[in-house]
Symmetry: C2
Subunit: 216 residues, 2 copies
Amino acid sequence: MFLHLYRQYKDGYRMKEEIKEEKNLSTEEKFKEAARIVFTKKGYAATKTRDIAEEAGLNLALLNYYFRSKEKLFEIVMIEKVKQLLSFIAPAMNNRETSLDEKLNQVTNSYIDMLTKNPDLPIFVLSEIRSNPERFGKLVQSNGHLLKSHFVQQLAERNQEINPLQFFLNFLGMMVFPFVAKPVFLTAGPVSEEAFAQIIEDRKILIPKWMKMMLG
Amino acid sequence: MFLHLYRQYKDGYRMKEEIKEEKNLSTEEKFKEAARIVFTKKGYAATKTRDIAEEAGLNLALLNYYFRSKEKLFEIVMIEKVKQLLSFIAPAMNNRETSLDEKLNQVTNSYIDMLTKNPDLPIFVLSEIRSNPERFGKLVQSNGHLLKSHFVQQLAERNQEINPLQFFLNFLGMMVFPFVAKPVFLTAGPVSEEAFAQIIEDRKILIPKWMKMMLG
DNA sequence: TAAATATTAAATCATTTGATTAAATATTTA
DNA sequence: TAAATATTTAATCAAATGATTTAATATTTA
């Protein structure tokens, strides 16, 4: 039972896995990828393990054989997703080689690119945290270091009056909010998928401009 | 069966209901209020009808007797919530008596007040729409009229260069995003409930200021 | 090739959950 | 007060769903 758990200790297995990954994906990774897709789209509660197995093209028994439970698999995916959403920015924000303006340009560009590839990511993470905050006490690393980043130092030098948290809320909100609100605009509003894509593309230039305006 | 459905046609009932509402709430309203609370906090899929009945202090059989199904009750609540989130702004935006700056001040104040009283509202509506967009084709009224509001006319007069949709995304995002991101800041970040409340309070003044800066 | 491991298929379990029913009791109405 | 209506209680249903088991088959490893 749970033979796959030994793989990390047995050379033969590891080799096999590496070979597999060159061609297609390992079974474990197939499940994870399927879980990312289904969990992200429907949320934890609305996701059926059978959906994940089907999406993976594998069998339900094997999912439990590999991950023990829906909950365990979910946590694996969730840790990844939280990291992707929150930790993505930190390195650029702490780059001591770039100016404040350069940071704004770079972060906006790369973060919006990431969100364009993962449009459901923010609403997924945020709504799962809301519907079950306890679970994330352990999962989520303290994010306070952003408020001590090189970026914040530069911000203080540029304009003493600005509360860094307020600035972050604006900066993140400008990037993230359109993706969170996207379903509303597409369902209820007069905005097409293409128009939305253009709006987002334009914001790569506009957001840094606006943020600089707010710096006074 | 479903005797309560006749109430709208029978005078005796209507009278009884009015009397009840003076004292406490009608049974139907107790269920709705409980449903608002539980659905908003946990989302549709994670909500059990038994939770709603318990929250209402009433019994499960009666819930189905009144609303037929979980789905029906949910739709009733959801229509309210969507309206609250989206239609709240429209009147102020179409007020022909106020200037652009006055509109920004007023809307920011009243909308943030509403969100403070309903902090889970945005994430609830947005995540439900995402996880089941089909359902909202019928529910959500076309929201395009905001883009033809008096506000947008004034915007065009003030600054031709600004895309109204981009401006709305910023304006709404600045107000809504902090509430959407709140669980993250409280769970992962170094922000207390009180600090968050102060941040929000400050934004009532700050957001109009920032929006005006962006007007150039 | 033989042994070890991985995967499938199918049946089954136990629990949860939305929904229903029937009978008893409480409350309101006329 | 008698009839109509509302609510509770408790049992039950049927379907969905997470999880497990077992036996058969496929694949990999040594």
